[in-house]
C-alpha cells in the first residue's frame, strides 16, 4: 500500500503540492487527475523519491520510501525515450538490471512480455527501426519488466492507436489482477473512468476530491439525464440550474439540480419532439472533473 501523508513541496515561492494525502491499494488502479501545472508530476516525483517533500511523508507498506524501495517501483514517465541506436533487448536488460534483476531473469521475462505485446519479431531491433507505437510498448515493458509492486504510469496512453490502447489496458488489468498497485495519471477521462477504483483530483496544488470513484458518484448531489438531442433544447430554461452539454451520437447530457425531477424533463421533452433515448445517469468523471476544475485553472 502506498500512502502519502500530508505531503507538501514548494519550489522557491511556487507551492507545487500542499498537504496532499492519498492511499493507493494493491490490486487497484488509483487515478491522479488535474490540469497541467496542478502538481501531478511533482507528486509522482516525490513518490519515486526523486524529490524530497518539504513536509509530510511518502510510505510504502508502512515504511518511508527510500532508494532501496523505490528501485522496486516501476515508472513510465510522461516524456520518455530510449537510446535510439542501441538494441532494445540490450536496453531492457540494462533497465532490468538497474532495478536489481539478474540477467537471466530479465531475459526470460523480456521474452514473455514481448510475446504478450506481439513484439517477438522485433527482438533484434533498435528503437530507430520501430514505429512510435512499438517504441511506446517497449517503454511500457521497461517499466514493468522487474514485476514492480507499485507501477506509476504518467499519461501511458499518449501516442498509442486505439488497438494498442486496448493492449496496454489489458496489460494494466493483468498486473492489477496479479496484485500490483497502479497509480495512473492521465487526461483521458474515459480510460481513467474505466480502470480506476480510486481517484484524486488535484487543482492548484491541492486535492479537491479524493476517494472511491463509486462513492464520489453515488454521493454526487446533481442528477444527470442523457436524452436525445432535440433541435431546440430551450425547454430546459423552465428548469432552474439545468445545464446541457451536447454529447456523441446525438445524445445530450443534462445536469439537473437535486430538486429537479427527471420525469418532468422527460415529459417536457416528449411534448416537443420524438425522444428515442432517455436515461437517468450517474455523473461521468468528466462532469466531476469539470465541476472541480475551473477553466481558468486549466490555462495554467
Amino acid at each position: 500500500m502506498l500512502e502519502l501523508d500530508n505531503v507538501s513541496k514548494s519550489f522557491g515561492s511556487v507551492q507545487a503540492v500542499s498537504d496532499l494525502s492519498l492511499v493507493a491499494r494493491p490490486a487497484t488502479v488509483f487515478g491522479l487527475l488535474g490540469p497541467n501545472g496542478a502538481g501531478k508530476t511533482t507528486t509522482i516525483r516525490m513518490i519515486l523519491d526523486i524529490l524530497q517533500p518539504d513536509r509530510g511523508e511518502v510510505r510504502w507498506t508502512g515504511h518511508r520510501v527510500d532508494a532501496v524501495t523505490r528501485r522496486t517501483f516501476g515508472y513510465l514517465p510522461e516524456e520518455r525515450g530510449l537510446y535510439p541506436k542501441d538494441k532494445i533487448t540490450e536496453q531492457l536488460l540494462f533497465f532490468g538490471r538497474l532495478h536489481g534483476m539478474s540477467a537471466a531473469d530479465a531475459r526470460a521475462r523480456m521474452q514473455q512480455l514481448f510475446e504478450a505485446f506481439g513484439l517477438t519479431d522485433k527482438l533484434g531491433s533498435k528503437p530507430v527501426e520501430l514505429s512510435k507505437g512499438n517504441q511506446q510498448k517497449v517503454q511500457f515493458i521497461a517499466a514493468i519488466l522487474h514485476r514492480p509492486p507499485l507501477l506509476v504510469l504518467d499519461e501511458p496512453f499518449s501516442g498509442f492507436d486505439p488497438i494498442n490502447v486496448e493492449v496496454v489496458k489489458d496489460a494494466v488489468r493483468d498486473l492489477v489482477a496479479a496484485g500490483t498497485a497502479v497509480l495512473l495519471s492521465s487526461h483521458r477521462m474515459e480510460q481513467v473512468e474505466e480502470l480506476c477504483e480510486d481517484i484524486c483530483i488535484i487543482d492548484r496544488s491541492r486535492a479537491v476530491v479524493n476517494g472511491s470513484l463509486k462513492e464520489i458518484k453515488r454521493s454526487w448531489p446533481d442528477r444527470f439525464v442523457h436524452i436525445t438531442q432535440l433541435p431546440d433544447m430551450s425547454f430546459l430554461d423552465a428548469f432552474p440550474g439545468a445545464t446541457v452539454r451536447p454529447g456523441a451520437n446525438g445524445i445530450a447530457a443534462v445536469r439537473l439540480t437535486p430538486q429537479t425531477d427527471p420525469a418532468a424533463i422527460l415529459r417536457a421533452a416528449v411534448a416537443i419532439g420524438p425522444v428515442e433515448h432517455f436515461e437517468i445517469a450517474e455523473p461521468s468523471l468528466t462532469d466531476i472533473y469539470l465541476h472541480y476544475v475551473k477553466p481558468e485553472d486549466a490555462a495554467a
Binding site: 526523486i50 532508494a67 528501485r71 516501476g74 515508472y75 514517465p77 520518455r80 525515450g81 530510449l82 517503454q139
Partner: protein, 424 residues
C-alpha cells in the same frame, strides 16, 4: 554488479561499438603508423648530413682503426690525447660545447681490456642516431679487436659498452632527450585530444540522455550521483581503452623498427653470429608512460566533472557547444604552455603554472618527461588536482540533481547559483 557498474558498462559497451569510436581509433592507429614511417624517413635524411666527431682513443693504432671505420659516415678528427677511461678530456669538452665539433667520442679499454665507448653529443642524439653510430662502432670493434683475439670471444666483443652522455644539462639522459624531441610532443597531443574529446563526450552524453528522455526512465531507478559516476567511469574506461590500443600500435611499430635495425646489423656481421639485443623499445622510460597514465586520469577527471555539470544544466546540444567553447580555454592554455615548456621546462613560469589544476595535467607531464622535476613538486601538483577533482565532483553531483530533469531555456548564472544553494 553495483548500479554504477551497470551504468558504466552500458556507457562503455554502447560507445565502444559506435562508428565514431571505431573510425577514430583506426585513424589514430593509421596516424601512429604514418608517424613511425615519417620518423624513419627523418632519420634517413638526418643520416645524409655529416656529423663531426672529435675522437679520443686508448692508443694511436686502435684510434686510427676506429677513425677509418667511421670516416664513411662521419667527419672524424682524431685528438692526439690517449683516453684512460670514459671521461671526456676538458679541452675536448670545451671544443664540443663551443660548437667546434657536433660530438665527442671517447674510446677506452674497460677493466677486462675490452673496447668501450662514451658518446658526448653537443645537443642531443636521437635514438636512431645513437643506433646508427653503434652499428658503425660494432664494425670498428670487430676490425680493431678481433685479430688480437680468437673468434670464440666474438660474442663478448660485440656486447661492447656504449654510453651516451648528453653535454646539454637540460636533459637528464640522452634517451630522455631523444624522447623529449618527438615522443613527448606526440604524447602531449594525445593527452590534449583525449582530455578535450572525452570531456566533451561526457557533456554531450548527458544532454543526449536528457533530450531523448532516456533520463526520465533511468531516474526512476537510480540516483543522479550514480548516473554521474557511471557516465564518467564508463567514458573514462573507454578513453583508456583507446589509449591502450594506441600504445599497443606504437609498441608494435617500435618493435618493427627495432627488428629493422637488428636485421641490418645481422647482415653487416660475419655469418653465424647472433645479433645483439635491440635497444629500440627498451629506451622508452616506463616512468614516462606511468606519468602519462596518471596525468591523463587527472586531466580527464578534472575536465569531465566540469563538462558533466554543464551538460546537466543544458537541454540542447547548442547550449552545450556554447559552454564547451568557454570551458575549453584552460586546456588550450595548458597545451600552449606545455609546448613552450618543451624548450625550457624549469622556467619559473612553468614551474608555478604546473601546480595549477586544469593546467597541471599537461604541463606537469611535459616537465616530468623532459626534465628532472623534484618529487615534492609532482606531489603538490597531483594533490592540488585531486582536491580540484573532489570539488568539481561535488559541484557536478549537485548540478546533476537539479539539472537532469530540467528542460527548456538555459539557466542564467543567477538561477544556477540559486539552484546550487537550494536543498534538494
Amino acid at each position: 554488479m553495483s548500479t554504477v557498474a551497470i551504468l558504466a558498462a552500458r556507457e562503455y559497451m554502447s560507445r565502444l561499438r559506435s562508428r565514431g569510436f571505431i573510425i577514430g581509433t583506426m585513424l589514430g592507429i593509421g596516424g601512429i603508423v604514418a608517424l613511425s614511417f615519417i620518423s624513419a624517413i627523418g632519420s634517413w635524411l638526418a643520416g645524409t648530413f655529416t656529423t663531426s666527431i672529435a675522437l679520443v682513443g686508448p692508443d694511436p693504432s686502435v684510434t686510427r682503426a676506429i677513425a677509418r671505420d667511421l670516416r664513411d659516415d662521419y667527419a672524424v678528427t682524431v685528438i692526439p690525447i690517449s683516453s684512460d677511461g670514459p671521461r671526456i678530456p676538458a679541452t675536448v669538452k670545451r671544443d664540443v660545447t663551443r660548437g667546434k665539433y657536433d660530438a665527442a667520442l671517447v674510446a677506452y679499454r674497460d677493466n677486462h681490456g675490452a673496447l668501450a665507448f662514451s658518446y658526448y653529443p653537443a645537443k642531443s642524439a636521437s635514438l636512431e642516431e645513437q643506433e646508427r653510430l653503434r652499428q658503425r662502432l660494432l664494425t670498428a670493434v670487430v676490425n680493431a679487436d678481433l685479430d688480437q683475439r680468437d673468434r670464440s670471444t666474438i660474442q663478448r666483443v660485440m656486447n661492447f659498452e656504449f654510453v651516451t652522455v648528453n653535454l646539454n644539462p637540460r636533459y637528464k639522459t640522452a634517451a630522455e632527450a631523444g624522447l623529449a624531441q618527438g615522443l613527448v610532443y606526440f604524447l602531449l597531443l594525445l593527452l590534449y585530444i583525449a582530455v578535450v574529446m572525452y570531456g566533451m563526450n561526457v557533456a554531450s552524453g548527458v544532454v543526449e540522455e536528457k533530450s531523448n528522455r532516456v533520463m526520465e526512465l533511468m531516474i526512476g531507478a537510480v540516483r543522479p550521483d550514480q548516473l554521474l559516476a557511471g557516465k564518467i567511469t564508463g567514458i573514462g574506461a573507454l578513453a583508456l581503452t583507446q589509449m591502450f590500443t594506441f600504445a599497443c600500435a606504437a609498441g608494435v611499430m617500435l618493435l618493427l623498427v627495432g627488428l629493422h635495425y637488428a636485421t641490418s646489423l645481422q647482415s653487416a656481421m660475419p655469418a653465424g653470429v647472433a645479433h645483439p639485443p635491440s635497444l629500440a623499445i627498451a629506451t622508452v622510460p616506463l616512468a614516462t608512460i606511468g606519468y602519462l597514465l596518471v596525468f591523463f586520469l587527472l586531466g580527464f577527471f578534472s575536465y569531465s566533472t566540469m563538462f558533466a555539470g554543464v551538460g546537466a544544466l543544458a537541454s540542447k546540444m547548442e547550449d552545450v557547444q556554447q559552454s564547451n567553447g568557454l570551458l575549453i580555454w584552460p586546456v588550450v592554455v595548458a597545451y600552449m604552455l606545455s609546448i613552450f615548456a618543451l624548450q625550457d621546462p624549469d622556467k619559473p613560469l612553468f614551474v608555478w603554472a604546473s601546480f595549477v589544476p586544469l593546467i597541471s595535467p599537461m604541463l606537469m607531464f611535459t616537465r616530468v618527461a623532459t626534465s628532472s622535476v623534484p618529487m615534492w613538486q609532482i606531489a603538490v601538483s597531483i594533490g592540488l588536482s585531486l582536491i580540484c577533482i573532489w570539488g568539481f565532483t561535488l559541484l557536478a553531483a549537485k548540478l546533476y540533481r537539479v539539472g537532469v530533469l530540467m528542460y527548456g531555456k538555459p539557466l542564467s548564472p543567477k538561477e544556477i547559483w540559486r539552484a546550487l544553494r537550494a536543498p534538494t
